[in-house]
Subunit: 404 residues, 2 copies
């Protein structure tokens, strides 16, 4: 072809970034999968979903296979409204939009709110796919460090005050995963949750609360930011990916109806009636609280296995946060570039995600890695951490004391 | 909330349009559905899809319910490559992207190619949801009228020559549905297909060939623009919505790999492994040519029923194009604003889509309406057209001769 393509201005900007998915190294077959945020195979209800589809299609025939028409699509919405009510968030019909997973929700939110002038505040580290999405829209960020109690709101407050003093633009949006965060597994304390809401009011920004892991607490689940949101500043994003099945792609947004309307505007053509009706059919035959109880019991136990194995097999200079829920353990290995360990780990037979991919400035993440206890079995977790320990051992040159 | 929302610049432009879906009037229950482009209930393979899911989940268990991992996802892609090969289009792996229906494909294409400077050439009338999508990106259009042989390429040639003479920007993209067009049911002649390709080369624009109905020909199917595309100027969009089930949301794009890469960039997070694997499971148990033969036999017969009923029940001044495939009959009722007939038609018990919604300048479409013969049964088609005839009769004030 003689011509060059004329891409849109927005796309030309996106192309300056690395292509998405660079963090997904092709993993050799047979590698122990401590990398992926996948649910445990035994906890994915494939038999129940098979039955849900059979029931759905026996009862409704062609209805869920058209663009619209299945009565179970509104039922799914009702289920989600009931879940939100259990978490102290009352949600009207025009305040909730079902999406194709949390990623589509985040992309739609970015699409309507962000442009090349917008500043976004993100946790550091944070969910890499959210970073990839935001970077398609803007180059302007402030990054707020995380400690064992989540997002350091004192630092956010200082940054905001400084920006105000200097006349710099205030972020339009704060993106946070306050509960069982990806990748750190940390949970924002109640005091900091209150502080976030105060700052949002004081500086007039919106908060995107990504709650993909929020139902997977090992103990009491913390209060949602959305439940503390008296001014409709919080855009809540939920997902059934981690608690039912990612392949069904069911997420949702709860927000001010003045935001849901434009989100629907761009969502409209991308609805998935069959997936939504299938999920509704699955849910109507499931005691969801019992289902969650089963999941969290398994994940808490697998998490304990991983933490014990880390104690046993990792050198004393290595440290980690102890998660209260979710899928992940965030590991710090001082003075080691974990991305340079990855091929060796693959060769040894274990996979992890190098920490740098979770940082806007990847240099800040060199000494971290993310482990997931969700997918692998207890035996695989122990074996995988043992293999990882050997690889780490060969990389640690200086001995430092355990800072946990 | 005290604050107003800060929407992105692009979104603020989109908000100047009417909200999408305005053409979908809420239809009273029990109305005969000659409006919607839905497949016939009896032709939606709900029993086969139930079995496809059972086979898929029995064999693969959790695999198709994760983000990635089902071997049937690549199988779906192979199936689509084979279909394209049957239509004389050889497609490498990096030249094909599976999407969530044709609408997502069109939206992704608009997203990467169009900005507020771009000019798009569209048929007049054309698919309203494509217009809604394009209008989210740009306000600049040229519209090319359609006759019984499709897009009037002579008019397009004149417009392009005039724009070149005047130094006006040439369209970046021509959007066309060359085969069994929505809404007119017309098919672009072979001579005009060649003319489109010559103009694309001469004026250096891309062609978006929307082939959603292309497999539903009552006789020989015309040669694809993509099969005549020696310079990789054609972006082909296909869909299984009209030939299997819209609710599964399976579409695809075939294009130059330099376009597929950025489309994937924005598509990536919106993949639907369960739907794709289910579709692959359905297809592997289906003789697809036989399946298509069954569909086209039924639709050809329903189309004939509709055309006979139109002859019988509509006044002589009313005319229509005779379709060679697809779902639709485009009806012209001189000197009547069909949108003003809609509520009466609903009250009488029949639904249609007013023609104006298929035009950028809706005033040009007042005297048209779109009927669909796909969803309703033979009996419902006859009854619906009879009811429509009565409503039309009360609206025709002057008698004009049948111009068919």
């Amino acid at each position: 072809m003689k011509t060059d393509f004329h891409f849109s201005k927005e796309i030309e900007r996106a192309f300056k970034n690395d292509p998405p998915g660079q963090w997904m190294s092709p993993m050799p077959a047979g590698c122990l999968r401590l990398s992926s945020g996948y649910p445990a195979p035994s906890l994915v209800p494939s038999e129940e979903i098979k039955q849900a589809v059979a029931r759905l299609l026996d009862e409704e025939r062609d209805l869920p296979l058209h663009y619209i028409g299945s009565p179970r699509v509104p039922q799914l919405k009702e289920f989600l409204q009931n879940r939100m009510a259990q978490r102290d968030v009352e949600t009207a019909n025009d305040e909730l939009l079902v999406t194709s997973g949390a990623c589509q929700a985040i992309d739609l939110i970015a699409r309507i709110l962000l442009d090349d002038k917008a500043v976004v505040a993100v946790e550091s580290p944070t969910y890499m796919e959210a970073l990839e999405i935001f970077q398609n829209y803007t180059e302007h960020y402030i990054t707020i460090p995380i400690d064992e109690n989540g997002l350091q709101t004192e630092v956010l407050a200082e940054m905001l005050a400084e920006r105000k003093d200097k006349g710099l633009p205030i972020p339009r949006l704060l993106y946070t995963i306050p509960t069982y965060q990806n990748p750190t597994g940390t949970t924002l304390s109640l005091a900091r949750r209150q502080h976030v809401m105060e700052l949002a009011e004081q500086y007039d920004f919106l908060v995107l609360e990504d709650d993909a892991y929020g139902e997977l607490g090992f103990g009491e689940r913390p209060r949602l930011l959305k439940a503390m949101d008296t001014q409709n500043r919080v855009i809540y994003v939920g997902s059934l990916s981690k608690v039912v099945a990612p392949g069904m792609r069911i997420g949702w947004v709860v927000a001010d109806k003045r935001l849901i309307a434009p989100l629907s505007w761009f969502k409209k053509d991308l609805d998935h009636p069959f997936d939504q009706a299938t999920m509704a059919s699955f849910l109507e035959a499931t005691d969801f609280d019992e289902h969650l109880e089963k999941l969290t019991t398994v994940y808490e136990s697998k998490c304990a296995t991983m933490l014990s194995a880390l104690e046993e097999f990792l050198p004393p200079s290595v440290s980690w946060f102890v998660p209260k829920g979710g899928y992940f353990v965030w590991v710090q290995i001082p003075d080691v570039d974990t991305s340079k360990m990855l091929q060796e780990a693959f060769a040894a037979g274990v996979a992890f995600v190098p920490g740098k991919y979770f940082f806007l400035n990847q240099q800040e993440g060199l000494q971290y890695l993310r482990l997931s206890f969700s997918y692998a079995s207890h035996e695989e977790i122990v074996k995988g951490v043992e293999l990882l320990g050997r690889v780490v051992g060969t990389h640690i040159v200086s001995t430092a004391k355990n800072v946990e």
